[in-house]
Amino acid sequence: MAACGSISDGRSVNRRPLLLALPLLCGAGALWAATGAGGPATAPANPQRIVSINLCADQLVLALADRRQIAGLTINAADPAMSAEAARARGLPLLRNSAEQILAIDPDLVVGMPATGSAALAALPHENYPLLDVAIANEPAQIYATIRQTAAAVGHPARGEALVAQMERDLAALPRPGRGRVAAYYQRRGYMTGAGTLVDAMMTRLGLVNLATKLGKPPLSQVSLEEMVAAQPDFLIVERATDRIDDQGSEMLHHPALAGIPRIGVTQASTVCGGPAYVEAARSIAAQIARIDGAQR
Amino acid sequence: MVTLRLSDVEVTLGRRSVLRGIDAQFEAGALIGIVGPNGAGKSTLARAMLALLPARGCIEIDGADLATMTRRDLARRIAYLPQGQSLHWPLTVERLVELGRLPHLAPMSRVGAADREAVERAMARADVLDLRHRDATELSGGERARALLARALAVEAPALIADEPLASLDPGHQIDVMELLRAEAAAGALVIAVLHDLTMAARYCDRLLIVDEGRIAADGPPAAVLTPALLRAVYGVEASVETGGAWPTVTILGRG
């Protein structure tokens, strides 16, 4: 029996150093993983391998950079329903937000909204790619700023200025068919967006009053059919993608109770990203208002 | 006056042959007892006569083949008092007895005056009139047995098959039920009762069918059928039978 006791004691003595080492090793590994190799590098003046990791950043890069500069866009860049520059994106490489793909390309500029803190890049802490964080733009002044910022980063500042100038001219030439009438941007499941959003800025530019502002609603709220009927806006702005009923969210937008309110269609491509397509979207809405007014006369 | 005839009836359940070569004819106006050891096939025979089991051979009632009859038609000719006292819902006795009129009700009609009279008669005969508003599931064993019997009587069918109507009844109530069955037979019905108790069977039945291992071992008046030799062969017991009194008295002496 004494022999048994002594054997077990011996084993535990031998194990102890290993047990102590384990947490130390884990800690060291974590520390190594967390620190990475330092902050992002500075971008070259004329990057040749630009990767965009955000759909809205795609729009800017496609409008301002040369095709041979673009090494990767997001998977939705070529979908016309979601990307205004879809035509230009055809033929360019589309990435699936995978760290592996980014690693393989070895970009010299990563553009995102923002790029810092993206999940794919967080998986590659030892690579320091030059990053460009583009701010979210919800109204023309902000859009011009992001255009200039991106144009400078991709090495074509003149293009940026030209685009901004064009947009300013086009926007100034836009009519104001709204004449103070009320419009509601009504989405799936009854969501409605209010002040401070892209569509809201467009409405104001065209002379429309946002129903959300009129009712004092927050930037995002849910409005029941009854409330919408009671509010009787002059126009209902709906996404074209909901024209086909394929779930209860879009079915709601086709309820007979809303049949009396004239509709204006917009695509997700024009409402999600504040970018060069802003003008086109505003023009489209203006044209639809004009058509509705013409039909009613 | 109704006649029930079985010709070479055979019942197989699963792979087991439960009844073989059953030949019998029953005429109205008699109380016929079916007795036999456990598992002999007594209940199976009763259920076969009601077309509740698939059976080969021929079963005819008044010359009409059971197999070609609709359930409703058969229900109007033979009333059934099942084994056990299953009652799934807490109906009043009156409502329970009323169920006996179902075979006579037209598809979407309610209970009529004639049906109510039949219900009254049945309750009177079974002596449950004073229980009519009681919850049938809360009655004592004897009271419930009478209530269920009243339900069977309410059908007013020319034939009645009762499967072990004396189960869980005390001797007094057992006599009540047997008296009732005999009175029905005397009034012109064909009454068949599956019984466990040989004494009761011997006392009240005009005719006994002894079923043993799926066959009819004996068929005739109790005095002729209940012999020590037969009891030994069928039940495996030593018994003495006294035929002196109004009915044969069976005394079981021991295992044979």
């Binding site: 009854e226 009671a230 | 099942p82």
Partner: protein
Amino acid sequence: MTRAAPRRWVLLAALGALMLAAAIASLRFGPVDLSAGRLFAAALGNGDHVAHVILFELRLPRTLLALAVGAMLGLAGAALQGYLRNPLAEPSVLGASNAAALGAVAALYFGLAALHPLMLPLLSIGSAIVALTLLFLLAGRSESPLTLILAGIAIATLAGAGISLALNLAPNPFAAMEIMTWLLGSLENRSFAHLWIALPCIAVGGGLLLSGGRDLDALTLGEDGAQALGVDLRRTRLRLLLGTAIGVGGAVAVSGAIGFVGLIVPHLVRPFTDRSPSAILLPSAIGGAALLTLADIGVRIIASTNELKLGVVTAFLGVPVFLIHLMRERRLW
């Protein structure tokens, strides 16, 4: 019988009045506060456009649907309890509701409903038939009520998982957000188009179940006793299967799977009847209509960012009442 007849009329009248009151309240209350005067004027035809649209296009179809779906669920619960002689039987417990919802989801989110408008109710009904057939196969012959309930829970869980899977696999990226609507039920934003889908199915299914009351009464004496009274058990089972599947299938295709209505209403109604299964059928239908309409009003009145799902309210409304009755009655029946 003579004593029960006037009691039955009193019960039906009381339930009918409750149903009517619930329906009127359902037309009166909603997210937008409209005065009774405005609504009345709109009902007569000389009201303003807004009140007219809200009353006739939004609240009226919703109320009618609540009545129809509630009636079907109450009736199906009463019929299933009667046939299976099980106090816990009802379409959602036995898995029929979830199965019907699975059929509806398959029709809507995989484009089948776009092929033909009848595809939705047909697939919903078909799934319910499959589930009930499976249920009867698994537990129909068993004497123990527990086996039946366990089989039902298994089927309901399987169907529920199927719904989640289907919605996640659906080509529509927003489909997965609608799982709760299908599993808990909702009558939000329904229109007359939905009513025309559900109503014929409910009418057919309800008619089948109501006509089978007598067979259920006969089953009081057990299967042998019932057969000996002239009941064709196969036909009874078929009638129950089809009646439940068609009625519940049509209802669920439009409202999603709503639970507890079929479980609770028969129990609430039973003490006021002679307790025979046939006597409970019609009162359960009317009571179910009233209960679901009241629950739907509750859903609209309880303030929340997302409209509460009906199944949540029916559970909160129904289960406490059920428990109180259970304790008072001292027995399950």
